[in-house]
């Protein structure tokens, strides 16, 4: 095996010499580096552009009040679904209030809510406020189960001083071991 390889590289060497005449090693390296930088620049451009358009901030109801989040700005709103606030109406419309203990924001959503949407449970909704201060959600995040408090919601509740230890206990239970 080694001997055959040796002969191959000798042949390569001759080819290399012939090719080097047309394009020096330096030039090749320049092409490679130039090309790489070009692709990288394009990627950075794409990323900056996408960051400007597609980043969504997470806010609790008190954040919305404090930061004066305007109507039409797309945000994620997180907190607890207030007890007794869920009203379902025809055409799969649902209305409820999200609270962090300090402030409350009414939310409307059209569609089937996730399995684990319940009063007194954490929820994260994505959408924007309308002019009357109602949060119009187009997505209710489904990615948590009954033992799991969404991390942002937990942090928001701690901040507003309405964190209860039983949440922590619930949150401390292991959830999933799988990667899906």
């Amino acid at each position: 095996m080694t001997s055959s390889k040796g002969s191959v590289s000798k042949v390569d060497g001759q080819h290399d010499a012939a090719e080097t005449a047309r394009m020096t090693r330096k030039q090749r390296r320049l092409v490679l580096i130039g090309g790489s930088l070009g692709v990288l620049a394009v990627a950075v451009g794409l990323m900056l552009n996408a960051f400007r358009d597609s980043i969504v901030f997470f806010n609790s109801p008190s954040d919305v009040a404090e930061k004066h989040v305007g109507p039409g700005t797309r945000i994620r709103l997180g907190g607890m679904v207030k007890d007794g606030s869920v009203v379902r109406s025809d055409g799969l419309r649902i209305r409820f209030e999200v609270t962090d203990g300090k402030a409350e924001i009414p939310v409307v959503y059209q569609g089937v809510v996730p399995d684990l949407f319940r009063e007194g449970q954490g929820v994260v909704a994505e959408g924007s406020l309308d002019n009357s201060g109602v949060f119009d959600a187009d997505t209710i995040l489904a990615k948590h189960d009954e033992t799991y408090m969404p991390k942002e919601v937990a942090d928001a509740l701690k901040k507003s001083g309405h964190w209860k230890d039983d949440y922590a206990q619930r949150a401390a239970l292991p959830i999933t071991g799988a990667n899906k």
Binding site: D12, M47, S54, G111, I175, T176, G177
Partner: protein, 666 residues
């Protein structure tokens, strides 16, 4: 007793890993063959002890020994045996056990099949493998011990998370881990090469089967997870750009790049330094994936909101291994000799193009996944980077890659003929253009760009076929000669064609379902019906059904074609698990060709009506069928004689007689 046995075995494995991680390296420094040869039996014993520990944990689960905390929290005696077994890795501690079991398994494989490796390379590689094992064993023993007992054993366990009570759990995590951890071998070999300061084409030949194997498992693992999420989460998404999914995609991208650069290194001794870096990166990204999933830093279904010690420990492992490897790389890589030259237009050039775009795409995923974490740590602002970000960055980078892909295999090494390749791809291009026109003519609605996407997908598939057609000279030679050529082609050539074809198939599925899928949200009363695409579903009513550890409320729907012909019935359900007081949606799927009707049930109302989500998913199955093609292509390539180390090289003479396209094959 069994649990204690497991814990004891794990401690012994840790001690053994310390020996395996030091003695062989001392041996390579002092040229002491005896010390170096410790590595092989140590790796085998390592595997034996870890297997005993894993087996002990599995036995606790199968026997429903609820005096073990981990079993109590994640299992239930009512569960079927298969789920009691899979719940072993359906939780943090157990999945880390699976992680090190696979790590030790790979170590043992190197020990057994590496008898033809140079002694120093083998000793160093197994030692590095042992460092990784030691780090993770210490992690398990100190922060995530699955063998902890409860003083008073409860009568019944808390049950496995219902979302995980699915056959998917039996395949998805093990396959994913085989992929993740498989890259540890290439990492170990890369570090070993750096320690020795020597690397050649033979290194690439030893490493490539491991990369291929890991890549195949990862491909199947990601695809399996995607299908699982598709049918289990109830709204039919196949990819969410969830950080945990990205965590598995990043090693896949880096691994795919590594797979291709290793070819260049093996054939042409070029890109050595780059290949080493990719080998380090692929495993580093696997480690980062493990960190993202296991530390609970992310808000997602996978998170473990557990004690921060785990996160810090894994972070420390990350820093030591990735930082250490990169530092070693910066110090030693300049010692490695430069490889062969090649023109920008050549097979090597095409593979460099592939690497450049794959790595850049990987970098955008990396930024999108970690930027929110970094921002929160620095400013406290919480943001989410969702699908729009990835679609706007990943997509534009992948399209050029797809366009160039068919050219690669048609180019010669060293100096390619771009015009010649383009001529040979003319038929493929014409087919693609026809496909674009056809897509415009047949479909209604959907994004304007979608038919062009179809064109790209068809071009990739036709290009893969072109490669084989060119090599076998179908239609130009008599059938017998073509067949002989087809049989004579290296399996790796077939593998390349299959894998590339699979990429096209997957792309076609993604475009089909995102551009032309339709969905309906509605409330239906018994006797009412819903139309979607050219199907009509009639709701017949709800009934109850009882499973081993759950209760179902099932909706019965009859499906007719628009023409009135009866096709069948669909039975989506709401499943309640009493042990956890938790409900899941079990969607019903009806396959029509490669498309699917997808129906999931909302909460039933008191009047007997029910909210449903109904989707028509055109071509959706192609997404996963494409992944099977990729896997199969990888398997063909893996069986290539070239990768069987020690097999005689195929005769050069044959290739020399034929056209350049055939030379490219070998």
């Amino acid at each position: 007793m069994i649990a204690e046995l497991g814990q004891y075995a794990l401690m012994l494995a840790f001690g053994l890993a310390l020996i395996q991680g030091t003695m062989p390296i001392v041996g390579t420094r002092t040229n002491d063959a005896a010390l170096m040869s410790i590595a092989t039996p140590a790796a085998l014993a390592q595997f034996a002890f870890v297997a005993i520990a894993f087996g002990a944990l599995a036995e606790c689960y199968v026997a429903s020994d609820f005096s073990v905390l981990n079993v109590y929290e994640n299992s239930n005696s009512q569960m079927p045996l298969i789920y009691r077994l899979t719940s072993v890795w359906g939780n943090h501690e157990g999945s880390m056990m699976l992680w090190i079991s696979i790590l030790a398994f790979f170590g043992a494989l190197v020990a057994v099949f590496g008898s033809n490796l140079p002694a120093k390379l083998k000793a160093n590689a197994l030692a590095v493998q042992a460092w990784i094992a030691a780090a993770f064993e210490l992690f398990i023993l100190t922060t995530s011990n699955p063998f902890v007992r409860i003083a008073e054993a409860p009568f019944e366990g808390r049950d496995l998370n219902p979302i995980l009570q699915d056959p998917g759990l039996a395949f998805h995590p093990p396959l994913l881990y085989l992929g993740y951890v498989g890259f540890s071998i290439t990492f170990s070999f890369a570090i070993a090469a750096l320690l020795e300061g020597r690397i050649d084409a033979a290194w690439a030949r030893w490493v490539r089967p491991w990369v291929l194997g890991a890549w195949m498992c990862l491909t199947l693992g990601i695809a399996g997870g995607s299908y699982w999420a598709y049918y289990e989460l109830g709204w039919g998404g196949f990819w969410f750009w969830d950080p945990v999914e990205n965590a598995s995609l990043m090693p896949w991208l880096a691994g795919t790049a590594l797979l291709h650069s290793a070819v260049v290194m093996e054939k042409r001794e070029a890109l050595k330094v780059w290949t080493i870096l990719l080998a380090i990166l692929a495993f580093s990204l696997s480690l980062i994936g493990t960190f993202l999933v296991r530390s609970g830093v992310l808000t997602s279904v996978h998170a473990f909101a557990t004690d921060p010690r785990r996160g810090i420990f894994i972070l420390a492992i990350l820093i030591v291994f990735i930082g250490g490897a990169l530092a070693l790389y910066a110090w030693r890589a300049p010692l490695l000799k430069q490889g062969g030259l090649f023109a920008p237009i050549s097979r090597e050039g095409a593979l460099v193009f592939n690497n450049l775009f794959l790595v850049t795409a990987c970098a955008t995923v990396f930024v999108g996944t970690l930027y929110p974490l970094a921002l929160e740590a620095l400013t406290g602002d919480k943001i989410s980077v969702g699908p729009p970000f990835f679609n706007a960055t990943f997509g534009p980078l992948f399209i050029p890659l797809m366009m160039v892909m068919p050219f690669g295999p048609l180019m010669g090494w060293k100096r390619g003929d771009l015009l010649g390749a383009a001529q040979r791809l003319l038929v493929a291009a014409i087919i693609a253009v026809v496909a674009v026109a056809g897509a415009f003519a047949v479909t209604h609605g959907g994004p304007v760009l979608a038919p062009f996407g179809v064109g790209v997908a068809v071009f990739v598939m036709a290009g893969a076929v072109t490669d084989i057609v060119e090599r076998t000279m179908v239609l130009r030679l008599p059938l017998g000669a073509t067949l002989r050529r087809a049989l004579g082609l290296p399996r790796s050539a077939w593998g390349t064609a299959f894998a590339h074809f699979g990429i096209g198939v997957t792309l076609l599925g993604i475009i089909g379902v995102t551009a032309w899928g339709s969905e309906r949200l509605a409330e239906v009363k018994p006797g009412g019906s819903l139309d979607i695409a050219h199907y009509r579903l009639t709701f017949d009513g709800l009934f109850n059904r009882t499973g081993p550890n759950y209760k179902d409320v099932v909706g019965h729907f009859t499906v007719h074609r628009a023409s009135g012909e009866l096709i069948g019935a669909m039975e989506p359900s709401r499943r309640t698990f009493p042990a956890r007081q938790m409900a899941t949606t079990e969607a019903a799927l009806m396959t029509r060709g490669v498309s699917q009707i997808y129906l999931s049930l909302g909460d039933p109302n008191k009047d007997g009506s029910v909210a449903v989500r109904l989707y028509f998913k055109p071509y959706v199955l192609l997404i996963w069928i494409g992944a099977m093609f990729m896997f199969f292509g990888g398997a063909l390539s893996l069986s290539d004689r070239r990768l069987r180390v020690g097999a005689p090289r195929p005769a050069k003479a044959k290739a020399a007689q034929s056209k350049p396209a055939l030379q490219a094959a070998e």
